[in-house]
Structure formats: structure tokens, C-alpha cells
Subunit: 242 residues, 2 copies
Amino acid sequence: MTYELYYWPGIQGRGEFVRLALEEAGVPYVDVAKDKSGEEAASKMLLTFMSDPGLPHPPFAPPVLKAGGLLIAQTANILLYLGARHGLAPDDEAGRLWAHQLQLTITDWVVEVHDTHHPLGPTEYYVDQKPEARKRTQLFLQHRLPKYLSYFEKVLKRNPAASGFLVGAALTYADLSLFQMIAGLRYAFPRAMRKLESQFSAVLALHTRVSQQPRIAAYLASPRRIPFNEDGLFRHYPELDK
Amino acid sequence: MTYELYYWPGIQGRGEFVRLALEEAGVPYVDVAKDKSGEEAASKMLLTFMSDPGLPHPPFAPPVLKAGGLLIAQTANILLYLGARHGLAPDDEAGRLWAHQLQLTITDWVVEVHDTHHPLGPTEYYVDQKPEARKRTQLFLQHRLPKYLSYFEKVLKRNPAASGFLVGAALTYADLSLFQMIAGLRYAFPRAMRKLESQFSAVLALHTRVSQQPRIAAYLASPRRIPFNEDGLFRHYPELDK
């Protein structure tokens, strides 16, 4: 079976958490939006696909994974499914729930990162909410970012398996997602991250280790990895990174 | 086994989605914060519990469910666990993923409701972000609220089982959570909801039906149901509901 990933073209966004899992799993997949000619056509195709009145389980928003007859949306839900199938989550229930709990905490973190440039919500553009974005980002960098980093540092240090991974002895989709958070935060807030990073050595070591996994390293060096940009989740606006 | 729910005292908040599932399941549970004398002591106890350095799986935030030796956090993760155990989710994988997908969409909706009164994030009080809250709420009521309501209306109408529930033939935790969204939104935004509601008859019918489930009806009439208030997720600020 070849998976089909439906996501916006031209950005990493939430789809990237799914791409990293598919790449590390080493399974065949088609990134549907990328196989079309031009971003406009690809976006249109995505919207047509999602609004098909014949879908019994319509998604609210992408990413969506087509897995045979299944259509699965919500990033953490897709990872729950892929993790169980491709060795990217523990086999036991306690481990599976713990990995998913960490992923849902990353989901919350993702919303807070998104809201640094969209504090008034997704309806309006960044340029229409710049003063509010400045305020929200300041609070995020001062309070929330260190809180999330401290939390994942604690989880890594407390892991009874002392593996350097978040859950048990082996890499899970939660590690891939934490890697992506650090990569994205370094892109969006290089100044803030430089100041903070040294306090979170376990998180940084995990980021480095994930980037060196052979399949992930190959993916990151490939044209499949879309560069970060200011249409995505992690945006570098110098005026916000002070 | 008696479940233990750890959540902030004095508010429904995210804990309420868990309480509704425990009540409908008819299982014994202790709402730990409520069994203490006074909110201050209860909050302190909750923080002490969560920051115990002996916890191998520390939670980032409440609610937390203690289920025997398991400690589970993140609302949707707790519901995933309870749903599988107590007949509040389908038995088959496709149905379980679909229910969870809907729950995660409600999770996103919850964040957007929260951000109407906290557009600059959770660090500062509502009184310190009133102008921004007014802007965000206006966009929420105009664009996002109808979008979410339309989505769940569509899901209810498309359910191949035509049961009036969201997933398959029987009630799931996703139905309980959608009930809570409508109850909360009616409390927070009575004017806006009055204007919109009539367009979403399937959603309203579900709300009524859930409220009439015998165990839910008993719960709602009991002192265990904490009234909505302005410390929780759904807050009624008349200046926002215009």
C-alpha cells in the first residue's frame, strides 16, 4: 500500500510532522500536493478533495492521510496510526498513551507558535495584526517557550530507560516531532533560541541525534524537505525576535 | 478500580470533558480537587502532585487521570483511553480513529474559544488584554464559530448510520464533548448563539439528546456539575458578545 498525504503545497506546516514519520518509517508515500503543477492548482485540488460530498468522514483541515480505505486527519491522530504500524511507538498500552500524550503537548505548543504571528486567529493576515503579534511573541519567548523546553528536558532526563529518547528505549514519532519543533524555533527565533538553548542540553542532543538518523538525514538533504518560509507555521520575522 | 481525576478546583474547564465521560460510563471516580477543603488548598495539592520528581511520566498540565498504575494527561488522550474501556467509542480501528479525529478537532475549537478572552496567551489576565480580546472575539464569532458549527452539522448529517450521533450508531465521547461545546458557547455568547443556532439543527438536536441521557441528566442536576463562571474556559463577558 502506498500512503497518500494531502497537505498544502509549498510549506512544511503541520504536514511536516507526518512527513518525518513517513520518511523514518521508510514506507512508500505520495505527497499529493507536490505532484501537481503549481501551488495554485495544488491548493485547489486539496480543497476539492476535502469538500467532496461523498466523504463519510470529512476532515476539518489538512493534513489528511489516505491509508487504503481509511482517511485520517489531525496530525496527532495520523501519528497514532502510523506509530502503531511502523515501529514508531511502543507496543504496550502505557507506552502508546505516553507517546501520544507528549505528541498532544507538542500540538498545544504548535498552536502557541502559530499564534505568535496570528494572535487574532487564522482569519486575518500577519500584516493586519502586527502590534498584537509583537505583544504575544514577547510573552511567548519570555514565559511559554522556556516552559515547554523545560518540560521536554525534564521528560528526557526522567525517562527510566535513560535512552536519550522521550519514550522508552527507542525512537518514537514524539522524538521526530520534538526535533521539528527545535528546527522550526531556531528558524523563527534565532536570537531567542541562542540565548535559551544552552539550558536544555538533553533536548538539543535529541535534536542532533534525530537529524543524524540515516533516513532523516537523507530526507533533510533531499529536495523533498521544503525550506522554512513565511507562509508556514514557523516564520522568521526579525521584528518579533528581539 | 476507582479512577482519580486531578484538575483545577472551581471550574469546568478542560476537566469537564473527562467528567462527562466518567459520568456517562457510570464508573466510580474521585474528583480529587473537589474533595479538599477550599480552592487554595486544592490548587496547591494539584501542583504538588504534578511536580512530584518521582513521576516518570510528568504531565504538562491538568486534567490528569489516575487509572491504577497509569497516569494519563491531555484531555483527548484520556478520552481515547476511557472510550475504549467503557463503550464510549467504536470497537473497530476505523471508528476509533474517526472518533478521536473529531475529538482533536474539538480540542482545536477549545483553544480558539479560550483565546477569545486570552488572545495574548495564558500568561496575562483577561483585564490586561481586553482590546485584543474584543478583536479576536469578533473574528471568532463571525468566521470561526460558524465554520466549526457547520463542520459538525455536516458530520452529523453525513453519518452513514443516520443515528443522530457523530460516529456510527451509538453515543461516543465525541458526542459528550460536542454537547459541552454547545452548553459552553451558549453560556459565553448567548446573543451570538441565538442568532446562529437555527442553522444547525442536527447539532442542537444532539445537544438536547445528550442532555437527556439518564446519567448525564442526573449529573447536570447534581452539585457535581460546577456552574460556568469567569475563571473557566467558557466565560461570559457581555462586552465580547455583541
